[in-house]
C-alpha cells in the first residue's frame, strides 16, 4: 500500500510518502495508526492526537474505522485549510 503524509504530519514524520506491505494485524485505518505509532519518534508525535488528523483512502475522505487492503492509497493530513 501507499502511505501519504501532508502538511505538519509530513514534517513531523520527515517524509511525504512511503510504500508498505499491509501488516497482518492491520484491518482498518485505526490498526494502521497503531502500527505506525509503534515506530516511535516522529510517528508517535504525528499521531499523538487523532482529533487533529483526517484520513482519506483511495482519495476519499473516510473514518478511522475504514477497512484497508494492500492495494490502497492511505493519506493522513490535518483538517484542510484551503479556499
Amino acid at each position: 500500500m501507499t502511505l501519504l503524509y501532508f502538511a505538519w504530519l509530513r514534517q513531523k514524520i520527515g517524509r511525504g510518502e512511503e510504500q508498505l506491505s499491509l501488516p497482518a494485524e492491520v484491518k482498518t485505518v485505526s490498526d494502521l495508526v497503531l502500527f505506525l505509532k509503534k515506530r516511535g519518534g516522529g510517528f508517535e508525535d504525528a499521531f499523538a492526537d487523532l482529533r487533529r488528523i483526517r484520513v482519506a483512502v483511495n482519495q476519499d475522505h473516510c473514518g478511522f474505522d475504514a477497512p484497508l487492503r494492500d492495494t490502497d492509497e492511505v493519506a493522513f493530513f490535518p483538517p484542510v485549510t484551503g479556499g
Binding site: 501519504l4 501532508f6 502538511a7 505538519w8 482519506a56 482519495q59 475522505h61 492509497e73 493519506a75 493530513f77 490535518p78 483538517p79 484542510v80 485549510t81 484551503g82 479556499g83
Partner: protein, 147 residues
Amino acid sequence: MITIRIQSEDFDIAAEIAKLDAENTGAVATFTGKVRREGDLTTLTLEHYPQMTEREIARIVEEAQTRWPLLGVTILHRVGRLMPGENIVLVAVATSHRSAAFQACEFLMDYLKTKAPFWKQEERNGTAQWVEAKYSDDKAAERWRNK
C-alpha cells in the same frame, strides 16, 4: 460547462467569467479569496494532495448540481508560494436566476474550505506556521446539511 483547475499562476476573473457564459445565463456570482495584507505576514504557501484535489472538487460540484440548476461552474485554486494581496481561489457560478447563483457560490466555498485537500502555511517574521482549521468554517459547511 464545468472547469476545475489547480495552478500556481494567477487567474483573470473577467476571462473566466466570459468562458463560463452560457445561452441562458442571467446571473453570475463569483467569489475571490485573497491573501490578506497583514502587518507581519510575508508569504502564504499552499500545499495540496494532487491525486485527490480535482476529484474532491468535482464531487463538491456534483453535489451543488443536485441542489441548484447550474449553467456553469468554474473553480480555480492556486498552490505554491503566494504574496500578500495575491489571489488564492476563484469560484464562479452561472445560473438563470440570482438566488441560485449566490447560494451555489457560497455552498461551493463552504465545502471547498472543509473538504478540498489544501493546507496553508503562513510565514511571519521568518517563522513558518501551519494555519489551523477554523470552527466557523465547519459550522458554515454544516448549515447546508439539512437544506
